[in-house]
Symmetry: D2
Subunit: 140 residues, 4 copies
């Protein structure tokens, strides 16, 4: 997927924007990866039987994070005449959602040995970091 995303950015009629194209492609991919992983983790938690009661907060944060990451990935995929305030605010929302969900998943990965939460925590960290990287390039 990274290769495809980068190709789309490179063949855009106006590729020059506020972001470095490689950093942008990485962040877009991290957003859609995190949307998939969080959707999957919410569903895996839902199937955990006796442990389910302890995973309610995790499911809730997974669902929020999936929605926020999907929207952020879409907004970032648009290069035509972007609005800096929208970009910055949506990136900040994505950092908040990934941080909350990543912390919760890491907790369950360590204390309850939930392997899907371990994979999901990593995806959240990657996406949070990639959004932070882009935020450095958006006008304050």
């Amino acid at each position: 997927m990274p290769q495809n995303t980068l190709q789309m950015l490179q063949t855009h009629p106006n590729p020059a924007g506020v972001f470095d194209l490689n950093a942008l492609a990485e962040c877009i991919d991290a957003c859609f990866e995190c949307e998939q992983t969080c959707t999957s983790c919410a569903d895996a938690c839902l199937g955990e039987g006796d442990h389910l009661m302890h995973l309610v907060h995790c499911i809730r944060l997974n669902l929020d994070c999936a929605d926020v990451c999907g929207t952020t990935g879409r907004v970032l995929s648009r290069l035509t005449q972007p609005d800096q305030n929208v970009l910055r605010a949506q990136l900040q929302a994505c950092v908040a959602a990934c941080k909350a969900c990543g912390d919760e998943c890491q907790h369950h990965a360590q204390d309850m040995n939930m392997q899907h939460c371990a994979v999901c925590a990593e995806a959240c960290r990657r996406c949070e970091q990639a959004c932070q990287n882009l935020l450095g390039s958006v006008a304050a």
Copy 2:
């Protein structure tokens, strides 16, 4: 729809949260209304023939605003164990998206007499205001 949204909030096992339920229902409805209206306005602009070239920025902001409002409406619809940082950041992103899109649509409504942009500008203003109202109740 408002009645339905409020009924869902009132029948929730844990309806007590940071928000007044009526203000919350109003904001959720405003978000989904704005998602629909912006999706519709982007498509109407796309069908404007000779005027299309002047509506590129409007279409782009419509698409962003539709995505951001849809995600905000979903996050707000969840009452179970919310995260204040996620709520606040997503509400702020929604304010930014609605402001950018509402300003652009109002411009086309006045200067080009685009009626769909006039309806859309109003939906953006309502949603922006409803998000601002809720932001007053979220912990800083």
Copy 3:
């Protein structure tokens, strides 16, 4: 919301399509209402404590139905040069999702007296019926 949706359709440069505008506006509204209601019902089920174990299937179907209805509402909101095969197939997917979720919610409304499931079952029925109505106007 219905009034807003209809206004957007009526101010579109090419409002004439395969659908009656009133039936179309009704269906678009039913889709977004159902997306909201199902998102809310999944979250309410998640907060049901001791009953949660019995609501796993309901949550899963709620999440599917919310996604399918949201996408159907967006596709229907576009009047510019639609593709009949896409319209028909997405309407059929929406009928299937609303039927599955509506049946499950009705079951919990009756047997477990879950009031949010009762409201959600009605929203699913309305959306299923509105999609069926439109399907009669799409070329086979």
Copy 4:
């Protein structure tokens, strides 16, 4: 991303379903890739200046395809107690959306030498084929 998706499926408490896990992971990835690519292609078309008038149908189909693929990727990411009718109908909707968009993009790639449309046409073909593969495993 493929590796991550497969890991999530493999660590799920109930990984056994109707689908082969590798084919499922491939289809989920193809759906999210196609959502990104179509979102990006709609935006690239919007930036094509003098050619924009000829790309209206392409933008419309791109937006539909992005929404349908995103929803299909989410529904497929859930393994817990799926509904066969919903799976089948949403996969068929995704085949229809990818076919319509892929055909249109291929046309512009060949006749107008639009490179982003060429990349997008390939993503649509991959997703259409991956959905067709899964449809063979869903009960009729």
